[in-house]
């Protein structure tokens, strides 16, 4: 039923793998490149070609477990399989994995086979015994198709099966782990944290067997419950106030971590904190989900305050949480600083472009092929398409290119005249700069004008054609169709989306709908999509730079430039470090 199961380190070294069928196109590489590195790990499965791929991390050992099966199959036991194998493999080979002095052989085939067989048998039994599981499975199918749902699977049947399996499972805390997961699944969208925590605190299965975790887990359960009441009252606290909300353990950690902070003299807290301090200093501890919930909730709120779209903040926090659960942290580190660190590298990864953003190099390439390089500016109304087009034009002129501007905004009155003024200014500014406007007035078909402009540019030896389009709202279907037509007919080298840095949640909607329109209305096999973003009005937002993150995350495309003012020179390259800093600044 499966196609392959692979266990690899985060460094990319395969420890153990088993293939059941011939694998084409290396779906694991695709998974890593397109999902895990891009911090889209908040989702639960990934469909590549004909494979459906699921994965899980074992962060304490830096491992990734990947399983793939044909996407037409509906295998309810996959999550359980991943969890069981993870548990088993980590226990059996922990020593081997930590010892990096030599490459070890991992003889795991027999264990894997027996685990797989047990699960498959149980699954088939469940199918026969419980016909009502069918509706949950079809629900799963629907859920899989919805990108936004990140917890799916036949929760009910699995939790039941899991209980019956407890005797077979090697240790109690594993079944607790799966139980936790499955309860989440049952409550998917509506699970606000309070009920989830309640479920967890009421779930006593296997806790007494769990020796190494029991003391911290129970304490945390208790502390967490107190905390919940606390938090619901003052849930609007910032990250900075976090240490007051957190349980004393990480409270004092914070203080020792930040050496500049003064130690406050409070007898009662000191007594318990001294204890936990020494407890911490004696050894490392593992991060568990409860530790993270609160810190991440605050982090999420912080990101939203920085104008990051809410969906994206949620996805990002989920993804960060997955890479942290199970990781060991040292004595002097607080969870908050770990989360911050991990969030920083996640943000950096999202904002760093994955393709070249060297526009000039692209233009030189086109020049050597003796054709004009075409750039199409799209976006909603009033974001500054024409203004930033003229700024880009100024920069290109500075580099000695001949530029033709195609006035394809045939809709808004004054649009063409606006461009005329820009062209006059630009011609006056540069000594030898050559820039012309190609316009055919109003009310005509934009796609046709663009086509004529490109032909005109080719005939007259222009290097670059900048196509200015009319602004349109993303929900306006006729206009979106017209845009898709313009793109299809002219196939520009770059489609640049111009977006305001002021937008919040709207950014995601705009970009997804523009991309969707380009895809749906093009009628092409390989439709175009947005290739880059210009973020305008960047000087107006101070440190609320969330839109940059939202846009880069939604499209996966780089932010080419940011517009920072009214003059022609106010177009800058975005500095990733700057944005990351602004996002995390409190």
């Amino acid at each position: 039923m499966l196609d392959f199961f692979t266990i690899l380190t985060k460094g990319g070294i395969v420890l153990w793998s088993k293939t059941f069928a011939r694998i084409t196109n290396s779906p694991i590489d695709a998974l890593i490149k397109e999902v895990l590195i891009e911090e889209r790990g908040g989702a639960n499965n990934y469909v590549k070609d004909s494979y459906n791929i699921k994965w899980t991390f074992a962060n304490e050992l830096d491992l990734v477990f990947v399983v793939a099966y044909q996407k037409i199959l509906q295998l309810a036991y996959i999550e359980e399989l991943l969890a069981t194998i993870k548990k088993f493999f980590c226990e059996k080979f922990a020593e081997f994995i930590r010892d990096t002095t030599k490459l070890h052989k991992y003889t795991f085939d027999d264990d894997f086979d027996s685990i797989l067989r047990t699960l498959e048998e149980k699954d088939s039994k469940n199918d026969i015994l419980k016909p009502p599981t069918n509706p949950t499975i079809s629900e799963e199918v629907i859920a899989r198709n919805i990108e936004a749902v990140h917890r799916n699977g036949g929760g009910k049947s699995k939790s039941r099966g899991n209980r019956s399996k407890k005797s077979a499972a090697p240790n109690g805390d594993f079944s607790e782990y799966v139980d936790k997961k499955s309860t989440k699944k049952v409550m998917r969208v509506w699970d606000d944290k309070l009920t989830k925590e309640e479920m967890n605190s009421l779930d006593y299965s296997g806790q007494n067997e769990n020796i190494d975790m029991s003391s911290t887990a129970i304490r945390q359960n208790l502390v967490d419950e107190n905390n919940l009441g606390h938090r619901s009252q003052d849930g609007h606290y910032e990250v900075a106030d976090l240490k007051q909300d957190e349980d004393d353990e990480s409270y004092d950690d914070d203080e020792y971590d930040a050496t500049s902070e003064n130690v406050q003299d409070d007898n009662t807290t000191k007594g318990s904190s001294l204890f936990s301090f020494f407890k911490n200093i004696t050894g490392q501890r593992e991060i568990n989900e409860e530790d993270l919930t609160l810190v991440l909730a605050n982090m999420k709120e912080h990101l939203i305050k920085k104008n990051v779209a809410a969906d994206i903040a949620t996805h990002l926090c989920d993804s960060v949480s997955r890479t942290l659960v199970g990781q060991k942290i040292g004595s002097f580190k607080s969870i908050r600083s770990i989360v911050k660190q991990s969030m920083e590298s996640a943000l950096r990864r999202i904002l760093t472009p994955k393709t070249s953003v060297d526009l000039l190099r692209d233009i030189l390439q086109a020049q050597s092929e003796s054709r004009p390089y075409t750039i199409c500016f799209i976006g909603v109304n009033g974001v500054g398409k024409s203004t930033n087009l003229s700024k880009t034009c100024f920069w290109l002129l500075q580099n000695g290119f001949k530029v033709l501007i195609a006035g394809c905004d045939t809709f808004r009155s004054g649009a063409v005249e606006q461009l005329k003024v820009h062209v006059r200014n630009l011609n006056a500014l540069g000594q030898n700069s050559v820039v012309e406007l190609y316009e055919r007035g109003y009310g005509k078909d934009a796609a046709g004008i663009a086509k004529d402009a490109i032909n005109f540019a080719k005939a007259n030896g222009f290097d670059v054609v900048l196509i200015d389009t009319a602004g349109r709202m993303q929900d306006n279907e006729p206009l979106m169709r017209a845009l898709a037509k313009l793109v299809t007919v002219n196939n520009p080298d770059k489609i640049i989306f111009v977006g305001e840095a002021l937008v919040g949640n709207e950014a995601v909607d705009q970009l997804t709908k523009f991309n969707q329109a380009l895809k749906d209305f093009s009628g092409l096999q390989n439709p175009r999509h947005i290739d880059g973003i210009i973020l305008t009005k960047f000087d107006t937002i101070d440190d609320k730079v969330g839109a940059a993150l939202s846009m880069a995350y939604t499209t996966g495309q780089p932010i080419l430039f940011v517009g920072t003012g009214q003059t022609y020179t106010d177009l800058k390259n975005m500095k990733v470090g700057h944005i990351v800093q602004a996002l995390l600044k409190e």
């Binding site: 460094g11 830096d62 000039l360």
Partner: protein
């Protein structure tokens, strides 16, 4: 609980912690014995890492995290260098590359791995990465080996050819990069590569750049080991 004892305990612990941190920092600063494995994704960095470290190969996938470790170069059981050599394999994915700059302060040499069989197609990406490395303000004087991997493939280009391709490409890049737009804060940390009036050549760099062909798959990595020894001894 006696408050003053407690406070003193805290101070003592803090002092020790700071001392350890400072020592660590200094220790890292003074030692420059790390070799970095850089290059595009799928060029064979992790395989080379495994081959150097363990002498054997296993299947690898795209790295999400750097691999690091120590190894000793042996010649029939006789170690050729005194101390174990520290190597770091930095992921080649565009979004993870920036990590290489974290290691630069402790780097003795850079091994840049190229897939010679796809080099012509990827010349631009390779050149851009190389440009970013050499233009980094702290990379000056770090010797670099450009290891043209996969020389066993039929389509593999010889190192001399790769060299000219990359020089041409960097020449273009130098022009476009320097005339790109300013960065937001415009703190320039980038060096100009080569001489302004001439076409770019690797000899113009302050770094010592060597091209060698190798094949991790066939175990032909002796040139790399020799280069590491030379670099370590040519102090």
């Amino acid at each position: 609980m006696d408050i003053s004892t407690f406070t003193w305990t805290i101070f003592a612990i803090l002092a020790i912690a700071i001392a350890v941190a400072v020592l660590n920092f200094l220790g890292n600063r003074t030692k420059k014995d790390t070799f970095l494995l850089l290059g595009l994704s799928d060029s064979g960095k992790t395989s080379l890492f495994l081959k150097l470290r363990y002498g054997s190969l296993v299947q690898t996938h795209t790295s999400m995290k750097e691999n690091e470790g120590h190894f000793i170069i042996n010649d029939n059981g006789i170690p050729l260098v005194k101390n174990p050599i520290h190597i770091v394999d930095v992921p080649g994915h565009e979004k993870l590359r920036f990590k290489f700059s974290d290691f630069i302060p402790i780097t003795r040499g850079i091994i840049f791995v190229i897939d010679s069989s796809t080099c012509a197609k990827n010349s631009r990406q390779i050149a851009e990465y190389l440009y970013d490395i050499f233009a980094h303000k702290n990379v000056k004087n770090i010797p670099t080996l450009i290891a043209c991997n996969m020389s066993d493939m039929i389509t593999a280009l010889p190192p001399e050819r790769i060299r000219t391709i990359l020089e041409n490409e960097i020449n273009h890049l130098r022009k476009t990069r320097t005339s790109g737009l300013d960065h937001q804060d415009s703190v320039d940390e980038v060096e100009y590569l080569g001489y302004e009036s001439e076409n770019f050549k690797f000899e113009h760099l302050e770094n010592e750049v060597v091209f060698e062909k190798c094949s991790v798959k066939d175990g032909e990595i002796n040139v790399i080991k020799e280069w590491i020894i030379d670099t370590l001894q040519g102090k």
